[in-house]
């Protein structure tokens, strides 16, 4: 770490400082397989250059990482990229994009607990990599929308065919997007927020 003199101290640029009135934050999680565009999406809407936070975990030598030695615990570092959008003087929204190690997503202290909702970003060339996380979101009761990042050489399916393949109820929004474009990423987030709002409305009525 660089602690040599205050000029080199790491930290936000002056224009990236939150106002002193900021007193509460909310978060949205963007999940999907490796290379599907999570970080691109975070970067296209974030007001700060995307940052990376890490967590170090141990695991018993069973399962995926067996090749590191079977009976000792191994340390695994999981990194997440995130960005920020100031909503009001008091409220800040953080967007977290998680890497493709599904098993670890649920170990982050409070990553999904408390998130307003999630965006499951899918690539139609590798639809099945997002199956597990959708199941886990369903089990955890985390509301989500599905965003199909359109790659030029990826197969195009009609939305209803995707809905059937993903076994999603009619209420869950599925939208196409190009996460390199800010307007498109913003659309995805607005779709999630409208979905959350409709849930709030229907629960208020029951």
């Amino acid at each position: 770490m660089d602690f040599n003199g205050s000029d080199t101290l790491p930290g936000p640029r002056t224009e990236d400082h939150l106002p002193h009135t900021a007193q509460a934050a909310v978060k949205i999680v963007i999940v999907g397989g490796f290379g599907v565009g999570k970080t691109t999406m975070v970067g296209s809407v974030s007001e700060i250059r995307p940052l990376t936070t890490e967590e170090t975990m141990t695991q018993a030598g069973i399962g995926v990482d067996d090749n590191y030695g079977s009976d000792s615990k191994t340390a695994t570092t999981v990194a997440m990229d995130f960005g920020r959008i100031s909503i009001t003087e008091k409220l800040v929204l953080y967007l977290f994009g998680t890497p493709g190690q599904e098993r670890f997503w649920f170990l982050w202290n409070g990553l999904f607990e408390g998130a307003l909702g999630a965006v499951v970003l899918v690539d139609t060339r590798r639809l099945e990599v997002s199956f597990d996380v959708m199941g886990r979101l369903e089990e955890g009761g985390v509301p989500f929308v599905v965003a199909v990042n359109t790659f030029p050489d990826a197969p195009r399916y009609p939305v209803e065919e995707l809905r059937t393949a993903l076994d999603l109820g009619p209420e869950i929004p599925i939208i196409e997007c190009d996460v390199r474009r800010r307007a498109s990423s913003k659309d995805v987030l607005m779709t999630l927020m409208r979905f959350l709002h409709s849930i709030a409305m229907s629960r208020a009525l029951t």
Binding site: F3, G11, P12, H17, A22, Q23, A24, A25, K27, V45, L51, T53, E55, T56, T58, Q59, A60, R84, I85, I87, T88, K90, L91, V92, L93, Y94, F96, R103, F104, L107, N109, G110, E113, G114, L116, G117, F131, M134, G135, E138, E139, G140, G141, V142, P155, E161, T164, A165, D167, R182, K186, L189, M190, M193, R194, L196, H197, A200, R203, A204
Partner: protein
């Protein structure tokens, strides 16, 4: 060509539901209750042996007594770094002259999230920083909060 297919899952039976509370306006976030933390831990457990666990041993402060800190808990310094502060504590206090989330602190200081929470717990206990708990998803969502986020996004 047809896409691969999956089968949807059901929400897991919820542990004891939290006591009903009036909807909180977002100006007044409530810290998570200890019960909520326990159920969270329980929900993370998916059978022994196969589950990774967080690595706490790097911190040196031992187990227990850590503040409930979320990735997006906002931290703000209450004062300038005292002379007694360690270099890491001083760095946090300098960074937090304006509010910063725990995730941002972890990123700027290149410390793992769990290490960061231990460092912050010391600072909170010493009353050198204050922490604002995030607004979390609730069974009955706060519509005014959702609307505020939508308005904010529309301005992007």
């Amino acid at each position: 060509m047809t896409p691969p297919r999956r089968t949807r899952r059901r929400p897991q039976p919820l542990p004891a539901p939290p006591a009903p509370q009036p909807a909180q306006p977002y100006e007044l976030p409530q810290p998570p209750s200890p019960e909520a933390a326990e159920t969270t831990e329980a929900a993370a457990g998916r059978g022994p042996g196969s589950i990774p666990e967080r690595l706490y041993s790097v911190t040196g402060s031992g187990e227990g007594g850590r503040a409930e800190l979320d990735l997006v808990t906002l931290i703000m310094a209450r004062c300038a770094p005292p002379v007694s502060a360690t270099p890491e504590q001083a760095a946090v206090l300098r960074l937090c002259q304006a509010p910063l989330s725990v995730a941002e602190l972890s990123a700027y200081l290149r410390l793992p999230f769990s290490t960061m929470t231990v460092l912050l717990t010391e600072l909170i206990t010493a009353e050198l920083v204050q922490a604002h708990a995030p607004v979390v998803r609730q069974a009955l969502p706060d519509r005014s909060l959702l609307e505020a986020v939508m308005h904010g996004l529309q301005r992007l």
